[in-house]
C-alpha cells in the first residue's frame, strides 16, 4: 500500500489535473510517488479512452446532428479519458479561449475547435494561439471573419489582449487595439457557401504600430507580438496557476513560473510540472479548498462509479449547475470558485447523484444482517472511496444506524436496507465534501 499522504496528494492531483481517480488509479500512481505521477500525466501513453462509449436510447451519440449531444460527447470523453491532464487542459483552454455554440451555431466548427485545443493542450502557447487565430468557430464568434480593411472589427483584437495574452488594461492601449484590428483584417466567410478563407485584398497591409513595434504586420504577427510582450508571461502563468489552485499565486512563484515559461519558449509543460509538484498545490489536504467545477464534478462522479453517459438529462443538469461545455456564458469563460455554489446549483449537484444512483440498488438486495459498518464499507466501495471529513463521517455513521432501526418486518427489510445504501452512496457522491478537492 502507498503511503497515505502520497495517496491524498495523488487524489488531489487527479481531481485538479483530471476528472478524479478511481481507487486503483490512485494507488498505482501513489506507489510511484508524486513527481513520477506528474510525469505520467504530462506524457500519457496508450489509448486515450477506455470503457464503453456513451449511448442514448440505445444509439451512439450524434453530436453534430442532435442538439445537446455535443455536450454529452465531451462529457463522455472526460469520463473515459486515460489522458486526464490532456483532457483537463483542453477544457481549461476552452475556458481561456471561450467560444459558444449559442453564437457560432455550427457544432462541426465547435468540435473542430475542441481538437485544436486538445492538440495544443500541452504544447507551446504561441502555437495554440496561432491555431486559435485561424480557428473557424473563433473567427465567427469574435467577428474576425469578414473584418475588412477600412472597417476593421475590433472584437478579436481586444479579447486577444484583454483575455487571451495580456490581461485587462495590462500594458496595451486603445490605440494598440485599433491598430491590431487593422492587422487582423482579411479573413473571410461566405454565408451562402459557409466557406472560410483569407483574402489579401481585404487585408490592411499598411504600416501599423502595435505594442511599441512598427511594421506591415499580418494577423499572425499580432499574436506573436502580444506573446512577446513582457506582460504576457506573468499573466499567463498566473492564469494557469488559477486552474489548479484557488490560493493566490505568490509573486515569487509567478516570477519563477514566468521564467520557466519564457525559457521553454512558451511550452506550458514545464510550467504545469512546476505547479503540480509545488508545495502550495498540496496545501491543506485535510480541508480541500477548491470547488470542483460542475463539469469536473459530474465527469468525476460518473468516472468513479463506472457509470456510462446514457442520459440526455446531463446537459440540463450541467446547465442548472452553471457550466455547459461548448456554451460558456461569454468570451471571458466561467467565473468559477465559490461562485459555483448557489442554492439552485447545489440542488442540481444533489440531483446529479440521484441520476447516477438510479436503479443501482434494488429492493430486496440487502440482507437484514448487514451491519452499519458493512453498509458504509459497501457505499464507499461503490463510490470510489472519496475522501470524507469527520463531519460527514459522523453523519454517515449516524444515518447508517438510525435509518434501519426497528425495521424488522420482511417488507421493511426489503425496502429500508437498500434505501440506507442509496442514501449513504448519495451523501458520499454529492455531500458537501464531494463538492471540493
Amino acid at each position: 500500500m502507498p503511503r497515505s499522504t502520497d495517496r491524498a496528494k495523488v487524489e488531489r492531483l487527479l481531481w485538479r489535473a483530471g476528472f478524479g481517480g478511481r481507487p486503483a488509479e490512485i494507488d498505482r500512481l501513489a506507489r510511484t510517488g508524486v513527481p513520477k505521477a506528474v510525469e505520467t500525466l504530462l506524457a500519457p501513453r496508450g489509448p486515450a479512452l477506455r470503457g464503453p462509449a456513451a449511448r442514448i436510447d440505445g444509439a451512439p451519440l450524434d453530436p453534430v446532428n442532435a442538439w445537446g449531444h455535443e455536450v454529452l460527447w465531451w462529457l463522455d470523453r472526460a469520463v473515459r479519458t486515460q489522458h486526464p491532464l490532456v483532457e483537463r487542459m483542453t477544457f481549461n483552454w476552452h475556458d481561456h479561449f471561450a467560444t459558444s455554440n449559442d453564437e457560432v451555431g455550427d457544432t462541426r466548427l465547435m468540435m473542430a475547435q475542441y481538437w485544436t485545443l486538445r492538440r495544443g493542450a500541452l504544447g507551446r502557447f504561441r502555437n495554440l494561439t496561432r491555431a486559435i487565430l485561424k480557428d473557424r468557430a473563433m473567427q465567427r464568434f469574435l467577428s474576425l471573419a469578414n473584418s475588412e480593411k477600412g472597417s476593421p472589427n475590433e472584437n478579436f483584437a481586444r479579447e486577444l489582449f484583454e483575455l487571451f495574452t495580456l490581461g485587462v488594461n495590462n500594458g496595451y492601449t486603445e490605440r494598440d487595439v485599433r491598430e491590431a484590428a487593422r492587422a487582423l483584417t482579411g479573413f473571410t466567410f461566405d454565408w451562402r457557401t459557409r466557406r472560410f478563407g483569407y483574402d489579401p485584398d481585404k487585408h490592411d497591409d499598411g504600416v501599423k504600430r502595435i505594442l511599441g513595434r512598427v511594421g506591415r504586420f499580418t494577423p499572425q504577427d499580432v499574436v506573436d507580438i502580444a506573446i512577446a510582450h513582457k506582460a504576457h508571461a506573468p499573466f499567463l502563468v498566473e492564469k494557469l496557476w488559477g486552474y489548479f489552485s484557488p490560493r493566490a499565486c505568490p509573486p515569487k512563484m509567478v516570477r519563477s513560473l514566468a521564467r520557466t515559461y519564457v525559457r521553454a519558449n512558451t511550452d506550458v509543460r514545464p510550467v504545469l510540472r512546476e505547479i503540480l509538484t509545488s508545495k502550495l498545490f498540496y496545501a491543506g489536504l485535510n480541508e480541500p479548498d477548491m470547488v470542483k467545477p460542475p463539469f469536473v464534478y459530474v465527469a468525476g462522479m460518473l468516472r468513479l462509479t463506472n457509470t456510462r453517459v446514457d442520459d440526455e438529462g446531463w446537459r440540463w443538469r450541467l446547465h442548472q449547475m452553471g457550466q455547459v461545455p461548448f456554451h460558456p456564458p461569454n468570451v471571458s469563460g466561467w467565473e468559477g470558485g465559490t461562485a459555483w455554489l448557489s442554492t439552485s446549483a447545489i440542488r442540481a449537484r444533489f440531483d446529479a447523484a440521484t441520476a447516477v444512483l438510479r436503479k443501482t440498488v434494488k429492493d430486496g438486495s440487502v440482507s437484514s444482517r448487514q451491519t452499519p459498518q458493512q453498509a458504509l464499507a459497501s457505499a464507499l466501495a461503490a463510490t470510489g472511496r472519496p475522501r470524507v471529513s469527520p463531519r460527514t463521517a459522523a453523519a454517515l455513521r449516524r444515518y447508517a444506524v438510525t435509518s434501519v432501526k426497528g425495521r424488522t418486518d420482511r417488507w421493511e427489510v426489503e425496502h429500508y436496507f437498500p434505501e440506507r445504501q442509496r442514501v449513504l452512496r448519495h451523501l458520499l457522491l454529492a455531500g458537501p465534501d464531494a463538492q471540493v478537492c
Partner: protein, 119 residues
C-alpha cells in the same frame, strides 16, 4: 428486462435509429447539420440562436407542407419527427419575411440503405 437487454444486445430487433438533422436559425439564415439523409424516420431539430422568433416548415417535392415546428423563441429548441420518403424537400421560416431574407434551404432524402430486414 432492462438488465437482459443490456446483457444480450439484440441489434437486429431494434429499428435503425431515426436520422437526425439539426438546424440553427438566426437572422436570417438556417445552418443545417447535413443536407442529405436516408429515407425513413427523421428527427429535425431547430435551435434558435437568433434574436427573433423563427420556425421551420418543410415541404415535399410537390411543394406541399409536410411538417412545421411552430414558433421557436430566441434560445428555444423544437423538433419534428417525421417519416420522409426519398425526394427533394425544401424548408423555410414562415415568420414575417424571413424566407425572402434568406431563411430557406433544401434537404435531399436518398433511398434507404439496403439492409437485411428481420423476419
Amino acid at each position: 428486462m432492462a438488465m437482459l437487454a443490456m446483457a444480450v444486445p439484440p441489434p437486429q430487433t431494434v429499428p435503425a435509429p431515426p436520422a437526425r438533422v439539426l438546424a440553427f436559425a438566426d437572422e436570417f439564415h438556417f445552418n443545417t447539420s447535413r443536407a442529405v439523409v436516408r429515407a425513413g424516420r427523421v428527427i429535425l431539430q431547430v435551435k434558435n440562436i437568433g434574436e427573433d422568433d423563427h420556425d421551420l416548415r418543410i415541404k415535399g417535392p410537390n411543394g406541399v407542407a409536410r411538417a412545421e415546428t411552430g414558433r421557436v423563441r430566441p434560445g428555444g429548441l423544437r423538433q419534428i419527427r417525421i417519416r420522409l420518403p426519398r425526394g427533394r424537400y425544401t424548408y423555410l421560416c414562415t415568420v414575417a419575411d424571413h424566407a425572402e431574407r434568406g431563411m430557406t434551404g433544401t434537404l435531399v432524402v436518398r433511398a434507404a440503405k439496403k439492409t437485411p430486414r428481420r423476419r
